[in-house]
């Protein structure tokens, strides 16, 4: 079986793939602002639970949500604070993480 070495490689790739730029990304979010994007499934196994814990899941959902703007080039805390300033009510959990 592909050992932890390969899994480690794939994990790097997943974390580093933002995909949510301002230019249209039709697969990211559809229509409404508040909809959470679907979970990424790679390799047809839900191996997310193994590498990610709940906290990282919440953080990733925050990153991917287009309502708070692009996530590239801005730190997560800054993006959260900007969302807060704009009155977009970002989840308070993210600030704690």
């Amino acid at each position: 079986m592909a050992s932890t070495g390969v899994k480690g490689f794939f994990r790097e790739k997943k974390k580093g793939k933002p995909g949510a730029t301002k230019k249209s990304n039709k697969s990211a979010s559809c229509g409404s602002d508040v909809v959470q994007p679907p979970a990424l499934i790679s390799h047809a196994t839900l191996d997310l639970q193994e590498e990610y814990d709940e906290k990282e899941e919440v953080l990733r959902q925050f990153d991917m949500n287009m309502a708070y703007g692009p996530c590239i080039g801005i730190s997560r805390l800054e993006r959260w604070e900007r969302a807060n300033k704009f009155g977009l009510n970002p989840p308070a959990q993210v600030e704690i993480c």
């Binding site: 730029t21 301002k22 230019k23 249209s24 039709k26 979010s29 559809c30 229509g31 409404s32 602002d33 287009m66 309502a67 703007g69 692009p70 590239i72 080039g73 801005i74 730190s75 800054e78 604070e81 900007r82 300033k85 704009f86 977009l88």
Partner: protein, 440 residues
């Protein structure tokens, strides 16, 4: 105003000044590698929230949706940033294209083409716009508007109506105080250029400081309470700035224009409050908002507390009359990418779009802000000016809520010898021209 005719002592009038430039300062910003998508998001959010609040009075019966939520045939309102696809817009990639067609060596000043089309974009997606109402020659990239229409079979959006932000709220100007107080605007002094006549600027300085003329003329000069220099005050020869090391003789050539400007500025500052804004040709940063010219450039004038170095764009209040203006880069950029009968029309459009420089950062250099857009006009000014234009022009526009704005185009002094005088009491404007040719 005291007039003592015995020994001719005149007092200059004064006005209370308050600078509103804080939003244009970037000293507190840090660059962490952010891209321009952040400022576009901030702009879209800011203006969309504002447009959504205007929708109930505009089209109350229509739903609003995002670009991806469009359904074919369903009438709705969408709000987003306009992008104008321009065929002739210069692209840095043209330098690398292998095939060199018979392109003209001289770049056109205006990049409009009949094939240009508009696209509306928000976070979810973009859609091409169609409709007779939407003339691409008027609009530019970067404006946020609300559009009423429906999606066609071809996937385009057919526009039936358009809503711009409109003039922002304006605080009423204080009623006529009875006194005439004047603000003098001048721009494009181009000290150090070969075509500028230094005598004209000296005449200007002598006139406004009251060193010229008889009592009556001095009385008029005593009514001037503020001078605003709107950019391009120096011109440094382009030949010196070719990236090579300068010899000592050339180095002094580089600093001569600024030294000359400082001497003249100290003459003005000794008598009247003066605001100096950086322009395209001045030794300031390139991207908007341009930061104030450094005090060390003006060793003589900076000693006076009447000397103020300001940002470009510049916003201030004088006796509760609100001024807002730029040194011309925003309007000149609009002139390259859109069409209008006169520069005042561009000025009016930027006010109605509620954004000083919509083409920033697309074609106009801009600092990559992350959480705000300082070019968004929050309060309507009473006087809106632009410097470094070809000729003096002025008009008054009215808003739907009773706002009244005086628009002023300040001509280049080095070319026209003309400055602008504005009366604070009634916001009337006239030109002040200096000449030294005596044709018999």
């Amino acid at each position: 105003m005291e007039v003592d005719s015995e020994n001719g002592l005149l007092q200059r009038k004064q006005a209370t000044y308050q600078s509103l430039d804080e939003t244009f300062l970037i000293a507190k910003e840090t660059y962490k590698g952010q891209q321009y998508s952040q400022i576009y998001f901030a702009r879209l959010h800011l203006m969309r929230t504002m447009l959504y609040s205007l929708l109930p009075t505009w089209k109350p019966h229509l739903p609003s949706c995002t670009v991806l939520g469009l359904e074919q045939g369903k009438e709705c309102v969408i709000v987003g940033t306009l992008y104008k696809h321009m065929k002739l817009k210069p692209s840095v990639l043209d330098e690398y294209s292998k095939e060199r067609s018979a392109s003209p060596l001289v770049q056109p000043c205006n990049f409009l083409h009949s094939d240009d089309y508009l696209v509306l974009e928000d976070e979810s997606g973009r859609v091409k716009l169609r409709g007779a109402l939407l003339l691409p020659s008027i609009y530019v990239t970067g404006i946020v508007v609300a559009l009423h229409g429906k999606e066609t079979g071809a996937g385009d959006f057919e526009v039936e109506d358009l809503l711009e932000a409109g003039l922002p709220h304006q605080i009423d100007r204080p009623l006529n105080s009875g006194e005439d107080k004047f603000v003098v605007f001048v721009s494009g002094l181009s000290v150090g250029s070969t075509s500028a006549n230094p005598l004209h600027f000296q005449l200007f300085v002598d006139h406004i400081t009251g060193h010229l003329g008889d009592e009556k003329e001095q009385g008029m000069a005593a009514q001037i309470v503020q001078v605003v220099i709107a950019g391009n005050s120096v011109e440094i020869g382009r030949g010196l700035l070719n990236g090579q090391n300068l010899g000592s003789k050339d180095q002094s050539k580089l600093s001569e224009p600024i030294k000359e400007l400082d001497i003249l500025m100290s003459q003005i500052a000794a008598g009247i409050p003066v605001d100096i804004m950086p322009g395209e040709a001045d030794p300031a940063n390139f991207a908007l908002p341009q930061q104030p010219l450094h005090r060390c450039l003006f060793p003589g004038s900076a000693a006076f507390n009447t000397f103020r170095s300001c940002t470009n764009p510049h916003s201030f209040e004088l006796d509760d009359v609100r001024f807002l203006g730029t040194s011309g880069q925003n309007i000149d950029d609009l002139a390259k990418y859109s069409d209008a009968t006169c520069k005042l029309e561009f000025l009016e459009r930027t006010l109605r779009w509620r954004h000083i420089a919509p083409t920033a950062p697309n074609t106009l250099g801009c600092y990559p802000f992350t959480d705000r857009d300082p070019f968004f006009i929050e309060m309507c000014p009473h006087v809106y000016f632009v410097g470094n234009q070809e000729k003096f022009d002025t008009s008054v526009i009215k808003g739907s809520d009773g706002q009244v704005v005086r628009l002023v185009c300040i001509p280049k002094f080095a070319e026209t010898g003309t400055a602008v005088m504005l009366n604070l009491r009634n916001l009337e404007c006239h030109a002040l021209t200096f000449g030294s040719q005596f044709d018999s």
